[in-house]
Structure formats: C-alpha cells, structure tokens
C-alpha cells in the first residue's frame, strides 16, 4: 500500500506540549515539510525563542539552539556567519520578536542576514498566560489589558511585516495565515519560498504566520479561527509585502 501521508523527517516522533487547538503544530509541520522537500535537513540549524515554542528544539530533528528572549536573530547571525553553507531559521512568537527582540529582528533584516524567520503572531503572550503583546489588537482583552487594549495608554499594535519590508536587506516578506486549508497551503508555499531565497544566498526572508491561541483568547478552536478572520486579518492583511526577486513591494 502506498504511503500518502507521514511524519516529516524533520520532525521527531514525540508528543508536543502545545495546547489543544493551537496552530503551532501545523506551523512546525509546514517548516518540517519544507526542510524535507528541499532536502536540507543535514545542514539546517533552527533557533527556538522564549515563548510557547521554547521547546521547539525538542521537536525538530535538525541541529537546534534555544536562544535568550528575543535574541534568536542575533544567535542565528552568529551561526550563519560561522557556517555559511548552513540553512538557519528562527522560529519566534510576537512577544519574543516584536517586543523584547525588536532590535535584533530589525538589524538582522537590515543587514540582509541570509537567514529565514518564521514569525508566529497570535496577538498575545501565550506561555506566560495571556498578557498583552505588541501585536494585541485595539480593544482586545488580555490579562494585562483587562479593559481592552487602550491605544491612548498602551499604544498601537505593530505590523511587523510591513515594517520589515521597508528594509533593503529584506528580500522576501509575506504574511500568511493558518486559519483554513487554502491558507495553510499558501503558508507552506511562502515558507518554502523563504527557505529557497536563503539557499540562493539572496538575503533575509521573513514569513509572518497569523496563528490562534484558544487557551488565552478564551475561545474554542473554531471560535478562535473565526476571531482571527474577523479581527486579525483586517488589521494584519495577508499577502506578499515585499519580494525583491520580482521587484514586488506592497
């Protein structure tokens, strides 16, 4: 009998710690499938963040690092500069990348580091239990914005992809979502393209993935999908923000 679906070689056969309904598992799988399809497992090195995906190093079969909070792009820079023929990716959440690690991501992009960043945006700090993130939407209730995010005091959410796309060192920037099968297929295409750009040595590639957090949003997985579509996609529009390989800038 032909095998039509199996675990990617880039993922270990272990249970993950992610909450029921969480989309980290889907995104891990997309990254792993891309590593398999490109045949780069042997030279790929991943960098896990601090946040919900802190234990990603236990799930991928390639060599892995666990970085300090927000510092993954700097760690990835050190790796890639030391081993230029490796394929280096960071996997970071929105607290890690868009708050404490803002300097590191901006400068890795500006330098055109030949690395790939998978940025998982679920508009909340998940691991610490649902606090306001830099990506939390206006009015969104979290543990530390109990009356809803008030932009007058807590400021405005950051559209990271749009910001990164203004930097000359960033070659490819796309925002995708994993809320539906068609979008998951698009997300995989974007991740694959991002890795291919690194393999070609063109510069920095960045894929923002809109993701759900049923546990901390206080919604069922299905309600969470709906919330993402109704609230996140309007604020964080999907699509290619920049593709220097075609000259496309949105």
């Amino acid at each position: 009998m032909a095998v039509v679906f199996e675990r990617p070689k880039a993922l270990l056969d272990v249970p993950t710690h992610y909450c029921p309904g969480c989309t980290h598992g889907v995104i891990h799988r997309l990254v792993a499938e891309v590593i398999d399809e490109l045949g780069i497992l042997d030279k790929t090195i991943g960098v896990a963040p601090v946040g919900c995906s802190v234990l990603a190093y236990d799930y991928f079969t390639c060599d892995m690092y666990e970085a300090a909070h927000g510092r993954a792009p700097a760690v990835a820079t050190g790796i890639k500069r030391s081993v230029p023929d490796s394929v280096v990716f960071t996997y970071q959440g929105d607290g890690d990348l868009a708050a404490i690690g803002t300097a590191e991501i901006i400068h890795a992009a500006a330098r055109g580091e030949k690395i790939t960043t998978i940025f998982v945006n679920n508009a909340i700090y998940g691991m610490t239990g649902g606090q306001m993130a830099p990506t939390t939407l206006p009015g969104q209730v979290t543990e530390t914005s109990p009356y809803g995010r008030d932009v007058n005091t807590a400021g405005h959410p950051i559209r990271v992809s749009e910001m990164i796309s203004t930097l000359d060192g960033a070659v490819y920037v796309e925002r995708v979502s994993v809320d539906s099968v068609p979008n998951i297929i698009k997300a995989k295409k974007a991740i694959k393209k991002a890795f291919e750009i690194q393999l070609k040595g063109l510069g920095f590639s960045f894929v923002e993935v809109l993701s759900i957090c049923p546990t901390n949003w206080g919604l069922s997985p299905n309600e969470s999908i709906k919330w993402l579509r109704d609230n996140m996609i309007p604020y964080y529009p999907l699509g290619v923000k920049k593709d220097a390989t075609t000259g496309e800038v949105k």
Binding site: Y65, A74, T77, G78
Partner: protein, 356 residues
C-alpha cells in the same frame, strides 16, 4: 624567537585572538576598548574570517552564543557598561557550556561612570554578573605582553572546559603601547567539539545548544555538573605572581593588573626606606589564588593590604583567603583615579609605622 613589535594594548588583543585562531569577532563601539573592534574590522576580512559590528552589546554576545555553538573560536570585547548589557548572554553561554573569550577593558562606574581606567568590575566578573550559579574564568594581565599571552591561553582554557573566559584589563592597559612578541605556541591537546550544532552532516542525533532545564532534578544535575567543572578549574588553572616575598615582610600587597606594576614601584621606594613589602599579584581573579596567601602567611608582620582601583571589592576575597589569621587592610582609588607609587607607599607607611 618572534620579532618584537610596538603595539597598543587593544590592538594587541585583536592580533593575539587572530593568532589563536579566532574565527569570528562581534563587537560594538565603547570607550576605552573601541580599538579592538577597529583592529578586527581591518584584519579579520584580510585573513578570511568574520568581523561584524552588532547593533548592541546584547546582540553581540548573542552572536557569540550562536557562533560558539557551531564550534568555532569566537570573541567579543567591550567595556564596563557594555559588559553589563552582555551579562544576560554570558549567563546563557555559561549555562549552555559554550567556549568563548570576552574582553573587558574596564572603565569607572557605576552607571555611565567615566572613561578612565578602573577595576570596579571585579565583583561583576568574579561573582556572577548575570543570573544563576555560574563562574567566569577571569584573567587579569598586567602588561601588553601578558595580555597577548593570556588572550591566547583564554581560547585554550575556554575550549578545554567549555566555558566562557574573560580577559579583564583596565583602560590603561588597553590604551598603552608596549613592545610585544607573538610567540610560537605549541599545539594544545583539546577535546573534540562533538557537541557542536553546525548541521547534522551525517550525524544521527541532533545537537541542541540550550540552557533550559524545566525539571528541577535535571537543573540541579546540570548545576552540579557545572560546579564540578568549576572545582576542576580551581584545581588546575589558578595563576599568580609572588614578588619580593622570599624574606620576612612588614606587609604584603595584593594587587592586580597595571596597578600591580605601580605597587612594585612603591615596594622599591619603600625598600630604600628600610620597609620590606611583598606583593601577591593574582593573574586569575577567578579562580582566586588563595594558595598564594599560605606561602606568605607566616612571613608578614602586619598582614595584607588590598590595593585596588575600586572601592573595596577584591579585599573581600583577600579577607576570605586570610580567614582572620592576619589583619587585612585596604587602599583604593576610584572613578578613574590611578594611585601613584608614592601614594601607595604613604598608605603602607601609615600601617607599618614609617621607616625602620
């Protein structure tokens, strides 16, 4: 014998690192160590290696973490406020057991402090700096030549024990010019870096560079492993110089770095006045050379004086080493004030009671 060249301390650090096989340097400008980065930016590309100016000291030390994890020799350099920023990364590097060399050309603090030479980062370097139970091996050279030798040794010690090593000089040492010789060094037997995460490349199991141990039992085991390693370093790597310590002494100075050289001049001045003073010069600040004190304990009449360009930091380790057996005195200047030999001599005369 290699040729002697006249070099500024900061530049000699860079050249020493290159000759020790340093593959990557990640820096950030800060006075008074900026010449290290400038030298590396000139030289590293010429020898086909990596120089990169980071966006911050925080990023620089995390680049070190990344590079060290792949198994290459890597260095960063900074000065006091910058080392504070690196403290987070240094803790992670120690936790993940990565070898690297960190240069600290110390200036006065706290806060932005000043840019003149100081030794006020002694506590930070030897007692932690970052969070958690870890130790840094800390070398304290007293001349440009010794800095060159110790930077090269630092890479070997780092690789041998999989641990970060700091070479700490004061601003004077970074800025002064002295003749140096880059000696031919015998190849050291060092353990293979089988732990390096540089891509599987046919290896079956992935390597993970990590300092996270969520289970208390595992973190305690990890800490015990680190402590055993630190014990081994304490047993093997202590370095110090004894100067003028052969006969009966009125007092023994404990001083390190360029200040130890000033103290030697004070000792010569006092000798002319009939006062015999010895010197313990710690070359490793951690592990602290406690054993040196045993060698002079019975020969010093008035005990010890810790002479520092700080407000009394090393004196605590001196007191621990002396353990109440003899008096421990202190003389310190701070803020970038460098004591003269005469000032040190006067303070000593105040203790031993003038000329004999």
């Amino acid at each position: 014998m290699a040729e002697k060249v006249l070099m500024k301390g900061n530049e000699a650090i860079g050249e020493a690192a290159i000759q020790a096989g340093c593959q990557c340097f990640f820096g950030y400008p800060i006075t008074p160590q900026t010449e290290v980065a400038a030298y590396m930016s000139r030289r590293m590309p010429k020898v086909g290696r990596v120089y990169l100016q980071a966006e911050s000291e925080v990023a620089a030390i995390n680049m070190v973490y990344g590079a060290a994890g792949t198994g290459v020799r890597v260095m960063t350099s900074s000065s006091s406020p910058g080392i504070s920023l690196k403290a987070e990364g240094i803790s992670y590097i120690a936790g993940a057991e990565l070898p690297c060399v960190i240069i600290n050309i110390v200036r006065g603090g706290p806060g932005l402090g000043g840019i003149q030479p100081a030794q006020s980062d002694y506590f930070q370097a030897t007692k932690g700096g970052g969070h958690g139970d870890y130790k840094l091996v800390v070398f304290a050279p007293a001349s440009v030549q010794e800095m060159v030798d110790l930077v090269q040794d630092a890479f070997d010690v780092a690789d041998k024990y999989r641990t970060p090593v700091m070479v700490m000089g004061d601003g004077m040492l970074g800025q002064m010019m002295e003749p140096v010789e880059f000696k031919e060094r015998p190849k050291k037997e060092l353990p293979e870096k089988t732990w390096a995460a540089n891509g599987l490349r046919g290896r079956e199991k992935h390597n993970i560079i990590n300092s996270l141990f969520l289970k208390p039992e595992e973190l305690e085991d990890h800490n015990n492993k680190l402590q055993a390693k630190y014990k081994e370093i304490e047993n093997n790597e202590v370095r110090y110089e004894l100067y003028n310590c052969d006969e009966e002494m009125d007092l023994v100075i404990v001083a390190y770095g360029t200040l130890a050289r000033i103290c030697k001049n004070a000792i010569k001045m006092l000798k002319k006045e009939g006062i015999n003073v010895g010197l313990i010069r710690p070359i490793t600040l951690w592990p602290f050379p406690t054993e040196a004190f045993e060698k002079v304990m019975d020969k010093t009449k008035n005990g010890f004086i810790s002479v520092e360009m700080s407000c009394g930091q090393m004196v605590e380790d001196v007191a621990l080493s002396v353990n109440g057996r003899k008096p421990v005195h202190f003389y310190g200047r701070s803020g970038g004030m460098v004591p003269t030999p005469a000032e040190v001599a006067n303070r000593i005369k105040g203790i031993v009671g003038g000329a004999k």
